[in-house]
Amino acid sequence: MTVITSRRRAAKADAQGPKPKGGFRYRKAVAIFVVPFAVLFVAFYLVPILYAVYQSLLKIQRQGTFGAPTQVFGGLSQYVLVFQDSVFWSSILRVLAFGIVQVPVMLALALLFALLLDSPLLRGKRFFRLAFFAPYAVPGVIAAIMWGYLYSPSLSPFKFVTGNVDLLGGGTILWAIANVVTWVYVGYNMLIIYSSLLAIPTEIYEAARLDGASQFRIAIAIKIPLVVPAIILTAVFSVIGTLQLLTEPLVFRQFTSSISSTFTPNMLVYSTSSVPNFNLAAAFSVVLAVATFILSIGFLRLTQRKADQ
């Protein structure tokens, strides 16, 4: 039925002159193209999200002290627990502190390297580009294991540092992790900003060069404003990454006792689910995902509004 009506509609559109590009005529083709991805997206993205929300609305009830536990609808009771949980909030504050320092430092370095690569000041650009990007080929687990040894007071090749400063101690461990994340991702962000610099037509600053502007001045006044969109992109992905911090601290637990099992929000989710308390863990997950979403959308909006002004 629907096929017939759609055909009729398409025929009508044809008869009326400018036909819609694509249109209902290609419904079958569109379905063939879109449905496979859409089905998997629903199965492994939407359903898990909805299922997590559903789980977070349940709670375990026992009949008496020794009765069998049953899952019953608990309304927002898990969320009340989440918002009262000081461990959760201190883990959030910890990753926020991490992000406020690590993301700007990493992006500033990435921008500096990209600008240097784009300037006529350097020789051997190809080498630097490859060398700086190489750490991105190292998976988080491997990078953390490697740096774990490099930080270790007894095994590190930099004993003159690690012998005197306890990098794996409670006060510095967060920044030791920040260093690992920075090490892996600076080159990647550098490349994003660099390819956006390459897209700027040279003519734009040719005039400035002829007027005698220095490279520094050109970078500040012309190049940086033009690559702001690329920087925003890298910033959004970095913010998402920061809130999800899990792999590096989890690996560092093998090197030091100064990381608790609830050090970051995701570690808290993991340890809560191994209790097992899936309902509470699901509520943590939902709150964390919503917070990530709001933060990245908010950041996009904020920076876009500024750019519009």
């Binding site: 063939i32 991805f37 998997l40 687990v141 005698g212």
Partner: protein, 308 residues
């Protein structure tokens, strides 16, 4: 967020054709700023490469030498010790390490390859056909980009345990196929690199829509597809949380999870320390090679992903 970010032709990414500094025009850069720039880059080259170099050096040492010899240089017996280490790595525990490498390669290439094709089809349709709900669909997929993969791991575990598929190959493989970011990139690429005229021409020649996609469009989109594949390959290769949550059987582990479990046993079995270091080095070699050889695609893809 603008979706149809302008794409630059691939040639502009080649350094040789762009921006060769025009000597003799404008002020010459002072020796001071040249040296400062080289100094900064030189120092950071050490920062980025020394850890990897240390890993290489350490994987050529016996446990005794690792503890006693100079950490950043080889020992006289490095060559044979290194070979012996790799030999032990590949035979330890019935050859579990090559199994992990193979698992990682299968998860990353097969799921990544499948995901790339599905993303390409979907992105192409979203770019080239107008249909009801197109923008809504695209925005939902785009929202998926912002959903952190770690937030999905736990509910995925609960769902897979309902159908008793946890601790199977599929538990890691199936969720890895979906890449909303791939769809996003493919849509941008398709709308800028596949001209409507070509699709029209194919239609006039009597080619069906699906055939046009697989014979014509997919070729025009091939640089984007390499990028999408690489992104997804790396994401799956690096994925740690999903296998950690899903898998218990060691023979199903990807190499990251395998090395993690070895490293957690180092205090009981000190000989594992050498294997962890050698294994870490061996495990990054495939990725390093893939990265360095496919660099050109990386950069053009990263440029395309930029928001306007």
């Amino acid at each position: 967020m603008s979706v149809d970010a302008p794409l630059r032709p691939a040639e502009t990414f080649d350094d040789k054709t762009t921006r060769a500094p025009k000597r003799g025009r404008g002020p010459r850069e002072s020796v001071m700023s040249r040296s400062a720039a080289m100094l900064i880059m030189g120092v950071f080259t050490l920062y980025f490469l020394i850890p990897i170099f240390w890993l290489l050096v350490s994987s050529t040492k016996t446990l005794d030498n690792f503890n006693t010899s100079a950490a950043l240089w080889f020992t006289p017996s490095s060559l044979q010790d290194g070979i012996a280490n790799v030999g032990r790595l590949f035979t330890y525990d019935g050859g579990i390490f090559p199994r992990w490498m193979l698992n990682s390669i299968v998860y990353a290439t097969v799921a990544g390859g499948l995901g790339t094709i599905l993303s390409a089809m979907c992105g192409y349709a979203l770019a080239k056909y107008r249909f009801w709900g197109r923008e809504a669909l695209f925005n939902i997929f785009l929202g998926g980009v912002l959903v952190p993969a770690t937030a999905l791991a736990l509910p995925l575990f609960l769902i897979f345990s309902k159908v008793q598929l946890t601790d199977t190959f599929w538990a890691v493989f199936l969720p890895s196929i979906v890449s909303p970011f791939g769809v996003y990139l493919c849509r941008i690429y398709a709308s800028s690199s596949v001209p409507d005229e070509i699709i029209e021409a194919a239609r006039i020649d009597g080619s069906g829509e699906v055939r046009t996609f697989f014979t014509v469009a997919i070729r025009l989109m091939s640089p984007a597809l390499v990028t999408v594949f690489l992104f997804q390959f790396v994401a799956i290769w690096n994925n740690f949380f999903l296998p950690l949550v899903m898998l218990r059987t060691q023979s199903l582990f990807p190499v990251t999870l395998g090395l993690y479990t070895w490293n957690s046993n180092v205090s009981q079995y000190p000989e594992l320390r050498t294997l962890v270091l050698v294994g870490a080095f061996v495990s990054i070699i495939p990725l390093l090679i893939a990265f360095l050889s496919l660099q050109r695609f990386w950069r053009s893809g990263l440029g395309a992903g930029g928001l306007k």
